[in-house]
Symmetry: D2
Subunit: 353 residues, 4 copies
């Protein structure tokens, strides 16, 4: 597979997550971007004209002169379709693309809870990808829909997987400090966040996601369906004045309690399943375990492993449950666009397109 | 008591908490500032010259031309001595002032855990002030030492008191998002906090304080000593890019579980003990209960009740324990200088000077 | 004039400048708010419900339950009408109110350049108020329109007036560092300004205003019209991550060159014309001259004189022209709502309503 | 020159500019780091232990285990010595290294004004490098001292060079908005810059540098000495809440006035002298001319050309002089460590080591 031969498209390409897709797909070894789709307002314009670029790396050259097309199955024909659509639109459009034969790798929340749709972080539950066989049978699709979780769940769930495999996780308290880029552009007004925090994200919806999504990802695939993990979650979510990188403070109860040193070793040595280990976007390492007293920090650590690594630190005894720790994950790379691309790579690697 | 007649002094007057003392004592109805003390480096200079003023309200006129004196009992003679000293220095100097007959109202942590030193938030445990009788007996002092808690414990403990009285509190998870002014001046480097958070405060020491101090304040005074409240605490502390105002996300287990509406009513109607209710610095109200989905916010709410009120919001069911909520408290007013002044007012009101 | 008896209304009351009007009119000694007007979307709702309050002082009680009315002359009848409308709407509505007999004190730019409309900063050109006699004659109105300048021109022009009276000003270079609140709410996206500056405000329009408006205010009223001051301006405008307070770095050429010390004395001693000196919103002092090497600073100095004072510092020799200095002015108080209220007070004081 | 064979050392390697040297020298094609030197406090420790790393890219592996040595000529022997020392120390140590035979490429200001020391930006005045022949003759050194300018002068001077060559520059007004990293670490307190600007940098010293250094760089090398360019400068300097990237608003008078379009073409097409064009650190392009109305912006544009390119925008008519424009330059790359490395590459390329 020496030159990129698999056609891919981005739906919602002008938004902030769409931009991250466009950036991460630059020079991808397998994928060739054949279409950038956006709303009718942008369709027909060159990408460089229609897009207010907000990333601090320049817009890739390949994208600048591409003419934006409307987000429908006539205008967009690609083996893989990346979806950075808003939930309501995703809810309607993604099944149309799956029916038309595309593998839809979606960052939208619309189908995450569907029983036959994988909610995937390949480094922890690559086997859940097999759910698309059930999905194709149920829906009669030649394509499929594969989703990645909410950006706040992402890093937390990676750390929990390592602990769950080793000790069993029973209860999780999670308090997030989330970055501004998670709200899209223009997103959060500067007057709302300068010298301030907002102690709520998505009007409560974010907390529901963090309390449910990890249970699906940590669940077992059994007879064509996922059994949700039997773990209780309690989440508080906060928006803070950070550009990229979601931090989560977590306290967990374990079935077989472990001391911090043992847990650190488990976290440090955690590795992805064989199938997900050597893909272009595989996090290297899956978990970076920091032993400084004041890490991870978003500005310093969010780009670890090209933004795909989960950074964990401050593992210590919890006076009520068993362990306390802090996780950090880049919310628009590992937690959004990079996540969908990694999912697409897994589909490709396993010949499931 | 028509004009201020009680002499007071500020130790550590040039630092950021010291400045807050100087500002809050401007036009105080009872207290007259007779001395501003600081390190030998500043002694002998006018306050306006020696101080790099960092508050956004101007330096009071009364202070500008006062000559700074050294922080010792020869140079400082006052009925009440406010201490904004660093812990190690406070540890040594505060007893000297108590011995010399001053009522030391201290923001330092040095003596907070001493068995005969009250750790006081008058709106919740004004009765603990009686501990100074034991203290005077033990030490043979005519003065005394009275402390206020760590700024992060403050707002949390006020909210917990209301819930504990009504329902009994058994367990508390607390994650703080703390303001920069809590670290003093120059304190946190801008390069450490711009586009960033620091997931640790005081190298772990802050978490220990938050896990212990509320137990003393919520404890019972019995036979001249405090029985620590039987409540388990787990704390994570974070520094965020906020100038003033500490936010705490809390989850609590109750002896007699209550629904959020009932708890909100209890919080909204909480009032201070009679003796602490009508002092110049009494918070009015003690608790401001916000029902918007995204409050409290530090920039918008920290000055509620002149910075003495604890603001509580987002009271909701907790999926693991019983209730979740968010508290906000102004860390250099209610959580530091205002706290010591309120304590001094209680001493004065009860004729305990 | 012991209790407020003059009826006033605010047009555009829910926006960020409108909120500042509502806050500053709380307990005004002369003015009683009888109507708060906003767009049809808000009309009919209580002010507290329709408004996303963004100030860090609480919404005044008087306003909370007022029912918002539409911004037209049927719904709004008041002796004085404060306009926080957008330019295009102001252009149409303000003349209707003037015709209906209200004195329109406007923060909008729509009529600032009209030959018979005063552009007023009472502390420097109170005499320009007489232009409304010409205006009433021209238009046949019983009411009138009086405007205040753009927020960036404000502080700069006050400082220039003092220098112009003393030495004559010929040329002015001005580079602004403007606060976020000047863009309204939601205004500037947090992703556009965190760790960033935007080297342009209002897409060039702001620079035009700064290059023209001071010339009208520093001009002479002669025979019912203003002769623009013969001063050349060059302006660069920038948006920076500051909540309130516009800073301007200025270099000026003088007709009669002066050294910095002489200029400082002139600035320090500048006083308002008699008629504008003792009004409720008069700046006290008009100019605060700082002699520290690093002042004025927006966070520390913007509330000088309740936000009505112009703060000037760093007066020094300019290697090309004559003098360099820095001015600071609170952009939503002196530069917007406070400005219109001060204008209304001057009208009232001179019996020109 | 296939593998790095030239030995280099970094003096002041643990500070924020020193860290940038360490990062930029990772995988340098010509230079091999043989010593990292710092204060006695750090000497003897591993670099990873002694350094509080503040860059958002990870510490290079090569540096982590290097043992820090003291900054003297016994401990440090290298063909090229990069100096990130403080001025006073640089003043004393740099001549010692030059005497010992090292080419000292210095970011310190100590020797910038020395008549026989080149002040170099290779893309504009590579020929000034010849001044070291005079220097070696004067001092009897086998090594030499070569300096790069102050970070604020850098981008401005590059733009001025293009304009000066084409039209002649006579006068320059420059107002800077400077990043926090320019003050080193810990540098600016967060309490001094959050919601604030500081209208002065280096207590006036920065303005002097900006008013003098460009004159040397734009001057002519004639008979072994530099004739300062006959250009008048006026500078205001400000610190703003930006992590990296210095912005300068400039207005210039030209000998042969040009319209903005002509000037833009000149800026866009400016190229480095032949000798400085194809070095590893050569900016590509030298100048990036932006035509959007709101660029350059530090967060979006500072990494143009790997942080070595000067970004210019908003070229427009100036109402008093001839042209106005905005420049942006990465202050710790082009304006500090990258500058010294580029200078060293020029020395190497010209066989002047």
């Amino acid at each position: 597979m020496s030159s990129p031969q698999i056609s891919v498209a981005v739906l919602g390409a002008t938004g902030s997550v769409g931009q991250r897709f466009v950036a991460l797909l630059d020079n991808h070894p397998w994928f060739k971007v054949v279409a950038l789709a956006a709303s009718d307002r942008s369709a027909g314009k060159k990408y460089a004209q229609a897009t207010r670029w907000v990333l601090d790396t320049p817009m890739p050259d390949y994208a600048k002169d591409m003419i934006i097309v409307p987000a429908n199955t006539n205008a967009v024909q690609a083996k893989i379709v990346f979806s950075a659509l808003h939930t309501e639109i995703a809810s309607e459009l993604e099944p149309q693309f799956a029916q038309a034969g595309s593998a839809v790798c979606s960052n939208a929340s619309a189908h995450r809870r569907d029983a036959d749709v994988p909610l995937l972080l390949p480094e922890i539950n690559a086997d859940h990808i097999q759910l698309i066989k059930q999905q194709r049978k149920n829906k009669g699709w030649s394509g499929c829909i594969v989703t990645n979780p909410n950006c706040t769940s992402t890093g937390l769930t990676v750390a929990l997987k390592a602990l769950d495999d080793a000790f069993g996780v029973k209860k999780v308290f999670a308090v997030s400090l989330q970055a501004l880029s998670g709200a899209g552009y223009p997103g959060v007004s500067s007057l709302d966040i300068m010298d301030n925090i907002i102690p709520n994200v998505g009007n409560g919806g974010e907390e529901e996601k963090v309390e449910w999504e990890p249970r699906k990802m940590l669940g077992k695939l059994n007879g064509g369906k996922i059994e949700l993990a039997d773990i209780k979650f309690s989440a508080h979510t906060n928006r803070v004045a950070v550009i990229d990188g979601h931090t989560v403070c977590a306290s967990v109860a374990l079935t077989n309690p472990a001391d911090p040193q043992t847990a650190e070793a488990i976290l440090r040595n955690f590795s992805a399943p064989e199938s997900a280990r050597n893909l272009p976007s595989s996090p290297r390492p899956v978990i970076s375990l920091r032993d400084e007293a004041d890490r991870p920090q978003p500005r310093l650590d969010r780009l670890t492993g090209n933004g795909m690594t989960t950074v964990v630190g401050r593992v210590r005894q919890d006076p009520i449950l068993d362990l306390k720790f802090v996780t950090l994950s880049h919310n628009t790379i590992r937690g959004a666009a990079g996540a969908s691309i990694y999912n697409a790579e897994l589909l490709t690697h396993l010949d499931l397109l």
